[in-house]
Symmetry: C2
Subunit: 215 residues, 2 copies
Amino acid sequence: MSISDAVIHRLPVYYRYLKDMEKDGIVQISSHELGRRMNITPSQVRQDINSFGGIGRQGYGYPVHELLIHIGKILGLDRNHNIIIIGAGNIGGALVGHKSFESNGFKTHAIFDNDPKLHGKELSGIPIYPMDDIKNFIKKNKVEIAVLAIPAEAAQKIADMLIKYGIKAIWNFASLDLKLPSSIAYQSVHLSESLQTLSFKLLHMNENNESNEKH
Amino acid sequence: MSISDAVIHRLPVYYRYLKDMEKDGIVQISSHELGRRMNITPSQVRQDINSFGGIGRQGYGYPVHELLIHIGKILGLDRNHNIIIIGAGNIGGALVGHKSFESNGFKTHAIFDNDPKLHGKELSGIPIYPMDDIKNFIKKNKVEIAVLAIPAEAAQKIADMLIKYGIKAIWNFASLDLKLPSSIAYQSVHLSESLQTLSFKLLHMNENNESNEKH
């Protein structure tokens, strides 16, 4: 499948909107209405959905449930993913308690932390283990995805170790860009950068308002 | 100032890289070396820095400290921002304990939650108040930024209320796209979507490797 980066990032957005529509009992949706809700053009909607081998007949709109299932499969949400979290701090604790992950097939099995005081304890019912146990745990539990919720200083070294032990995907919350082999799936959430972008918008909002409409 | 959306989102990345370089004692940096580290082309670096009235002389590279200060000002990091967090759950608790925010001038003053059992308690030393106190608190403490760490169902209504009470910027962690007036600064962190994008990459990694190098 050849899907552009822009579409890859819109896929979960389609998924979210279609899920909400399904909840609201909407069975069929036109590209116009879907585009209106997502704030993109109808032709963009049609082009996107075509690009991932979409469903639906010209002039009839898209069947919400079928499209949801189709996009879910493309996103890999039709299977279970085994996750471990590295770092039992604030971010690790928040992620382990995030209910919507598990409903999408992302199951957190363990948290690893190098603080001996935390070993044997739990966060949201998930056990905290010593870092030394990672290697065996990954192998035994067929863990594919590791979440890095640790300081930037340690993150590259730990990522390298995780990959050596068989991890295939890294979800990074540390404030750095990891250098990883091209065979590893990689996605970062940079919270400080998001807050700084908000700060920029706040500071320059008035200038922008003179020439632009905000979307 | 007229800065493109792409550059706005790269500004915090420049800030992060320059900060790390300053820590490492680097005084001057070429567009080649900055581009190499950030994985963008040298000409992109020069174009970006020109677009926000950059510093530095042709052939001499950029002075790290001055450029850092300059970008910090553009991002509004040279001033203090008063923040409140709505929702004392996992995400709210993680954000209130995030140390790097305060070092950049983002000071969280209070958390608001509608659970009476939490009122009078604290998270990372920040008090939790009833939702009814928000209006007076915003006015009295000149709060500009509100963080929404609440379920999607309640988020639009609460955002509307916050704006009525004087909030100028919303950092949204709820899983929906808010409809806000164009005068309000707005930035979302969609954790589920980020994890789903990672899942997509994990599933389609092998296909991509055949034709593309990962960056």
